[in-house]
């Protein structure tokens, strides 16, 4: 199933793929993500928890990863 917008139920396979990619990213703990209006920066563990919960931030993280995979498919240097 393709993710068309944040309202749609997330396919479990996609969710697992995203979780795997985040867990294996090895990003330094000091590097944190600010998404939109978030007051607190998100650690890798926070990202994992949001994706698991499929809340608004989790859906956005999944959308960001799927966007990346689409860009990879068409050629990242041509993006």
């Amino acid at each position: 199933m393709e993710i068309k917008n944040n309202e749609e139920k997330i396919n479990e396979d996609i969710k697992e793929l995203v979780l795997f990619r985040i867990k294996s990213s090895k990003l330094s703990p000091s590097i944190k993500l600010f998404i939109g209006n978030s007051q607190a920066p998100l650690t890798t563990n926070d990202l994992i928890n949001h994706v698991k919960k499929e809340d608004e931030i989790g859906k956005k993280i999944i959308a960001m990863q799927m966007n990346y995979l689409r860009v990879l498919k068409k050629g990242i240097m041509q993006c």
Binding site: K26, I31, L33, G36, P41, K60, N67, Y68, V71, I76
Partner: protein, 214 residues
């Protein structure tokens, strides 16, 4: 009379980063004798912004702050410009809104109400920071990869590039940063940073007159 107006609330970590990094835009303007009005901190409220629009009538406006589909926020997220309420204040102006999601509805509605050009983001603007650098944002090389491409847009507009050219310059800068992380093994997990860079690049849009110049 100020030629452009910039809002720089500074009430949390995100707005602190935007506050400090947008100073580079003002440095460029000062060096090139371009007059501006810099509204900062708790002065970034609806009353002041509306007043400055009427008195100074700036052709170009840079908003920095939080936002959503319908709104650009100021100090402590007080709505400055809201869809269906006061977007007419942007009439005939070129706007660059570094404020999450604000291009999605507000940007489009403002164009209907006469805004010449609205450049912004259709979804969240995301950026990574190095938490060890949060007290000195300008020394944060990770955040630089996100905020320098945004500054490229503003500075290109000040260099009299068209809105479309300015956006292309900004997107080229996002691509350059992406290549840096692709080519470098110095940062583990760089792929996560690339994802956010590409996300911002893809969500940046130019609405209205793409050929507008400052």
């Amino acid at each position: 009379m100020a030629k452009f107006l910039i809002t720089r609330p500074n009430h949390d970590t995100v707005t602190s980063y935007l506050f400090h990094w947008s100073k580079k835009i003002l440095d460029f303007a000062s060096k090139n004798s371009i007059s501006f009005l810099d509204i900062t901190g708790d002065n970034v409220n609806k009353k002041n912004v509306e007043s400055y629009f009427k008195k100074q009538n700036p052709k170009l406006v840079f908003f920095n702050g939080h936002g959503d589909d319908n709104c650009i926020g100021g100090f402590k997220d007080e709505p400055l410009i809201e869809s269906g309420k006061n977007e007419h204040l942007l009439k005939d102006r070129i706007v660059y809104s570094l404020s999450c999601n604000s291009a999605k509805v507000l940007g489009r509605e403002s164009i209907k109400k006469g805004t010449e050009t609205f450049i912004g983001y259709e979804d969240s603007f995301m950026f990574y920071t190095d938490s060890e650098r949060e007290t000195t944002p300008l020394k944060d090389k990770i955040a630089s990869s996100f905020l320098q491409p945004s500054n490229e847009l503003s500075i290109s507009l000040l260099k009299n590039k068209t809105a479309e050219e300015a956006s292309i310059k900004s997107k080229d800068a996002f691509k350059k940063e992406t290549r840096k992380f692709l080519a470098s093994n110095s940062i583990e997990g760089g792929e996560m940073i690339i994802m956010a860079l590409l996300w911002n690049m893809e969500n940046q849009i130019v609405l209205g007159n793409k050929q507008a110049r400052f």
